[in-house]
């Protein structure tokens, strides 16, 4: 892995959750993981960068719902909500990325990696989103290799 620094999974997911909420321009919800100072700031794009790609009405609503379910630990529910969003907007890379993240938390490394790849494939114009996907992929590969 050619990554400058290993970032622990909860940190990554916590950050992403925070981004999701800010990207959807609602009051930020408390992240489930403690928010330590990001060791490597380049891992996540700025909220503004993501906000530019904010999906429209119904998908945004579902992303909020999924974020709530995710925060309350209902990962199955979050995944079902994100799948519902994919049905409405199958080309929306952010939704695929959220699902990758949920699978990462569920320890489903293979799906996390593939879903993040799929997200990047749809996000050719969004470097920030692809960077997050790369981190998800790296985490998933590390975890799979380390037998976590």
């Amino acid at each position: 892995m050619n990554r400058p620094a290993r970032i622990r999974l909860p940190v990554l997911t916590g950050l992403l959750l925070a981004i999701l909420n800010s990207a959807c321009s609602v009051p930020q919800k408390p992240s489930p993981a403690p928010a330590p100072p990001p060791p490597d700031v380049t891992i996540v794009p700025s909220s503004r960068e993501l906000a530019a790609e904010t999906p429209s009405g119904p998908v945004r609503e579902l992303l909020h719902k999924a974020a709530d379910q995710y925060a309350s630990g209902d990962l199955d529910g979050a995944a079902a909500t994100l799948e519902r969003a994919i049905r409405i907007a199958p080309s929306e890379p952010l939704v695929w990325q959220r699902l990758a993240l949920v699978r990462l938390d569920q320890g489903d490394w293979e799906q996390a990696e593939t879903l993040a790849l799929r997200s990047s494939g749809l996000a050719s114009g969004n470097a920030g989103l692809r960077k997050v996907n790369q981190d998800i992929i790296a985490e998933a590969r590390d975890a799979a290799a380390g037998g976590r």
Binding site: G57, P58, R60, G77, E83, R87, P90, G121, S124
Partner: protein, 825 residues
């Protein structure tokens, strides 16, 4: 009361309760009296009619016989007691087991996908109205209650019924949907005026999977049943229900008197408890022992359970009608079956009719015998008035009302048997058949009824326009259609034959046929996955070829037009579906890699790697072809086709979700190249007639397939939201005379025209760029080249040379090379 008394249901009359004993049971020669009582005097002497001698000799021994009896009496009594006890325990076991264990066999309910509504959704007002029609909403002039709608210009008002499914238990609401053309312009709550971001309409029930004996029911809880129904049941069927212990001797006595007077069984004395027991063990046997069993079971039932539990069970168990093989059980389903209303929404006279029908659902069937039904209904209303349950005004009003049943009974047979078969196949991997039939599972499927119905209509209409498409019978031209959603692989529609309602041979799943040229995109993908060796501009030799086979024979495929086309670009070879160049390309790439790629794309059956595979000698079913093309539509990601989203138990808890699982079957860049060529198939190649068949702006990608002797006509392709595969052919494998373009393409276009809301978007993935190419040489072109093509290339694979037609190498043409150089440095 005096006229009807305590009559019980006709099905139960004479079969349950002691009242009927005098009329029904005793004359019946097959009855079995308790053995102990009849043994010593009844039958034994008759059997001993052998001779008087023996009788005389035994007479002399009377004293000792009596002494023996006296000695044996305690043993006889003890044995009898043990036997009676064992019998009672056995009955107790049976009735408790019935009541507790399998309280009600509930059919599985199968639902379509719920319709999601939001502003910007590509749906026309007519579609929404069609969906509401499938949900049996009623059109009204003013929308007040759930299940009603109104159309006013470009606006549809409707009151949804709520979404009672796991993960989202939302109440119904009054909705206003404003349409602009084929799109929802605004979605809002008509009561509050607030915007609605996203609304999930309750899903359309598309099928039920019934218990083996066809019992159908909907459950209602006692506390949810209308009070009038409960009062009416007690007044008409069992006035002392709250006081007796399962059997009501007074009612029996009254019934006996009435029956003796009438000289036939006119009245029954069965309690509701007895009727419930009777319903549990439905049988037409009319023996005294049965009645005794039922009486004892009723007493036992009352000893174990309280009155409310028994009444609740009765509400759901009672038999109230028949629909073909489907038996209508319980008041909730009966309300739906006769009035298409929820039980809670029935009018008093409708409740009275249902209670009236308990006595004989077939005799008093309001659809077949309205006169009898209304007479008995009014009798019930009289009783309710006498008992004070209905006041005189309400009773008078109710008597004047018509029966109020809908003309045609809602059918229990699914209109979508072919899709249901797919659902069953998938369910049977995870559940037992018995669970499907009896556990009341709620199955949320992926079927889109609007897409399904439109695909059916399109298929039927376009089939009629095809040569030979009108003839019917065993040798008729048959069709199979699969429609799946891009992104998720959810099966939206399935057609298994020219008659979509016929549940027989399901060609979409079970008919494996040679796929012909539909295989070609796989061959080209296997080549384009090696960008160092192949691009869309690679020149191929389309001359005749001869391949030596392992068995010593040789294989010499020919082009469809029997012509060779010299040197052609890989792009053109695919677009025009040339066989000779394709076979040559496939042999270079390796038949094995094509077979492996097919497996990666989701084909599970073993595919023999013979050279003829390259031209589609492999037999696949339409749904397998859809699986392969799903991978193309999803940019190289393969997702197993899926017909079910989730399964919940009868209480609504999720038992199983079928989550989206994807795998990368091929890299996105190579797949993009294939998709761009398949788009060109529909513009300039074998599918170019689509240009006039599809609305302008609906860009699609697809491929024709024709097999030897015109036996199979295929078209497979995709746009923005659906992958659709169409097969036409005959069951006896006779020629159809149709090519892929003259047959299946016509049906495909008609379907896509009606269901597509999003065109194919050729958005190049990262690392792919478009270049202008001279098709004659496969080299870089510029404005000086006539007929130049824009083709996508994976970076680092673009042609190095410049076509002679290019007057000079422009900076524009050179720039990618520069770019590449910079990258490598």
């Amino acid at each position: 009361m005096s006229r009807v008394g305590r009559r019980v249901g006709q099905r139960i009359l004479c079969r349950a309760g002691f009242a009927a004993r005098g009329q029904c049971a005793i004359p019946n020669s097959s009855h079995r009296m308790p053995k102990k009582k009849q043994s010593s005097r009844g039958s034994r002497p008759a059997r001993r009619s052998a001779g008087a001698v023996r009788r005389r000799t035994t007479k002399g021994k009377t004293g000792s016989w009596q002494r023996g009896l006296r000695r044996a009496l305690p043993a006889v009594i003890l044995t009898s007691l043990v036997l009676v006890l064992a019998w009672v325990l056995w009955l107790d076991y049976r009735i408790v087991d019935q009541f507790e264990g399998r309280r009600w066999a509930l059919p599985a309910r199968v639902f379509a996908r719920p319709l999601e509504l939001h502003a910007g959704k590509g749906i026309a007002a007519d579609d929404l109205v069609a969906e509401l029609g499938l949900l049996r909403y009623r059109e009204v002039s003013r929308v007040r209650a759930p299940g009603e709608y109104r159309v006013s210009g470009d606006t549809v008002y409707f009151h949804s019924r709520g979404f009672p499914f796991p993960g989202e238990n939302t109440p119904g609401r009054l909705v206003r949907a404003d349409f602009a053309g084929h799109e929802i312009h605004r979605l809002g709550d008509a009561s509050t005026g607030a915007e609605i971001d996203l609304l999930r309409v309750e899903p359309v029930p598309i099928a039920s999977i019934y218990p083996g004996h066809g019992e159908d029911r909907m459950l209602v809880r006692l506390e949810d049943a209308p009070p009038l129904l409960l009062d009416a049941l007690l007044v008409v069927e069992d006035r002392r229900f709250r006081d007796h212990h399962g059997v009501d001797p007074a009612a029996i006595a009254r019934a006996m008197v009435a029956n003796l007077r009438a000289g036939r069984a006119v009245q029954g004395g069965s309690t509701l408890t007895q009727q419930l027991v009777k319903n549990y063990f439905l049988t037409n046997e009319r023996t005294l022992s049965r009645k005794l069993n039922e009486a004892v079971m009723s007493l036992l039932l009352e000893a174990h359970y309280d009155k409310d539990e028994i009444l609740g069970a009765y509400l759901n168990e009672v038999y109230l009608g028949q629909d073909g093989e489907r038996a209508i059980h319980g008041f909730a389903l009966a309300a739906q079956f006769y009035f298409e209303r929820r039980l809670g929404n029935l009018e008093p006279e409708q409740i009275a009719l249902l209670v009236a029908m308990v006595k004989g659902p077939s005799w008093y069937d309001p659809r077949r015998h309205p006169d009898r039904a209304i007479e008995r209904r009014n009798l019930v209303i009289d009783l309710l008035e006498e008992a004070g349950t209905l006041d005189p005004e309400a009773a008078a009003l109710a008597r004047k009302r018509p029966l109020g049943v809908t003309d045609a009974a809602p059918t229990g047979r699914t209109p979508f048997p072919v899709f249901l078969q797919l659902v069953r196949n998938q369910l049977l991997r995870d559940y037992r058949e018995a669970d499907l039939r009896e556990e009341g599972m709620k199955i949320l499927t992926t079927m889109d009824p609007l897409v399904q119905i439109r695909a059916e209509k399109a298929m039927q209409a376009s089939l009629l326009r095809l040569p030979g498409g009108k003839e019917d019978g065993e040798a008729a031209l048959q069709a199979a259609v699969v429609v799946t959603a891009t992104g998720t692989g959810e099966v939206a529609a399935l057609i298994g034959g020219r008659d979509p309602r016929f549940p027989g041979y399901n060609r979409a799943i079970d008919a494996a046929r040679p796929v012909g040229s539909l295989i070609k995109p796989v061959v080209y993908l296997a080549a384009l996955e090696r960008p160092g060796s192949y691009t869309l501009a690679t020149m191929l030799d389309d001359g005749p070829l001869n391949v030596k086979l392992a068995n010593g024979k040789s294989w010499s495929p020919q082009n469809y037009d029997r012509q060779s086309h010299g040197r052609v670009s890989l792009h053109d070879a695919l677009v025009h579906s040339y066989n000779q160049s394709t076979a040559r390309l496939g042999m270079e790439v390796g038949v094995e890699s094509v077979a492996r790629l097919l497996a990666r794309l989701g084909i599970e059956r073993p595919v023999p790697a013979y050279p003829s595979l390259l031209l589609g000698a492999v037999e696949l079913s339409p749904i397998e072809v859809a699986q392969v093309y799903q991978g193309f539509a999803d940019g190289g990601y393969s997702v197993p086709l899926n017909a079910i989203r989730s399964v919940a138990n009868r209480d609504g808890q999720t038992l199983n979700r079928y989550p989206l699982r994807i795998s990368q079957a091929a890299d996105a860049q190579s797949v993009f190249l294939v998709t761009s060529a398949l788009r060109d198939v529909t513009l300039q190649g074998t599918g170019k007639s689509l240009r006039k068949r599809l609305p302008p702006g609906l860009s699609v990608a697809g491929k024709t397939g024709t097999t030897n002797g015109y036996r199979d006509s295929w078209f497979a392709g995709y746009a923005g939201d659906f992958v659709t595969v169409v097969w036409l052919g005959r069951d006896d494998n006779r020629p159809t005379g149709l090519t892929g373009s003259s047959g299946a393409l016509v049906v495909w276009a008609d379907i896509m025209r009606r269901i597509s809301t999003r065109p194919l978007v050729l958005d190049a993935p990262q690392g792919v760029e478009w270049l202008r190419i001279d098709p004659a040489t496969g080299l870089l072109a510029d404005t000086g080249c006539d007929g130049a093509l824009e083709l996508p290339f994976i970076q680092s694979s673009q042609p190095a040379g410049v076509a002679p037609c290019a007057r000079r190498v422009s900076e524009k043409a050179r720039s990618p090379l520069k770019w590449l150089k910079g990258l490598l440095n």
